[in-house]
Subunit: 117 residues, 2 copies
């Protein structure tokens, strides 16, 4: 059976999570619920407005998050995880757990290499 990246279903999920700030945004919204643009930005020091906007747009495009605009001055925009988006939570949690363990794995590996040197 021939394999191509475009046909790999895993990529469908991966493509949504990939993006420098996407996992952070998703974990934050999953924990904290609905948040304003400025709250998101404040919680992520280092991110630019352009990047935050872009990542949010891409997640919205995939129906993972919802964007609600309140027509008022000054503007108010709120973001939250959609029902559908919550189906990603088990995957994110699994990756978080695996990632935490993997950090330990690397440290252990380095120590083993020191012993044998």
């Amino acid at each position: 059976m021939e394999k191509k990246p475009e046909n790999c279903r895993v990529e469908n999920a991966l493509g949504i999570l990939v993006g420098k700030w996407k996992p952070i945004i998703l974990l934050y919204l999953l924990q904290e619920g609905t948040k304003r643009f400025s709250e998101l930005k404040r919680s992520m020091p280092g991110i630019t407005q352009k990047m935050l906007t872009k990542q949010l747009r891409e997640l919205e495009e995939e129906d993972i998050i919802e964007r609600v605009v309140y027509p008022q001055v000054p503007p108010k925009v709120e973001y939250s995880i959609t029902e559908y988006g919550r189906s990603l939570e088990p995957i994110l949690e699994a990756m978080h757990e695996w990632g935490t363990n993997h950090a330990l794995h690397k440290v252990t590996k380095e120590k083993d290499q020191q012993k044998s040197s």
Copy 2:
């Protein structure tokens, strides 16, 4: 609480899966077991030797796959998933399942948009 990409545990796992051919390589080795370099290359039309080598090296670096060289002419190199690497299987399966469903989700969404137009 301040969030930074470098501190996100999810990234630890994500970084390992990210790479154009990595999910395919992992799924293939998980299904088929041990495979030679040439078998891997043949099963993935479109991949170059350089890329296959690079992706394999990166996975090996993280202890996800094992590389065994047989000192003979012509050369023979076999790759397989490590015990540790198998801990990624649940995540890959979850992403595969989610990704499959997400493809359907997009199709449904497009049809809904056609109706309302």
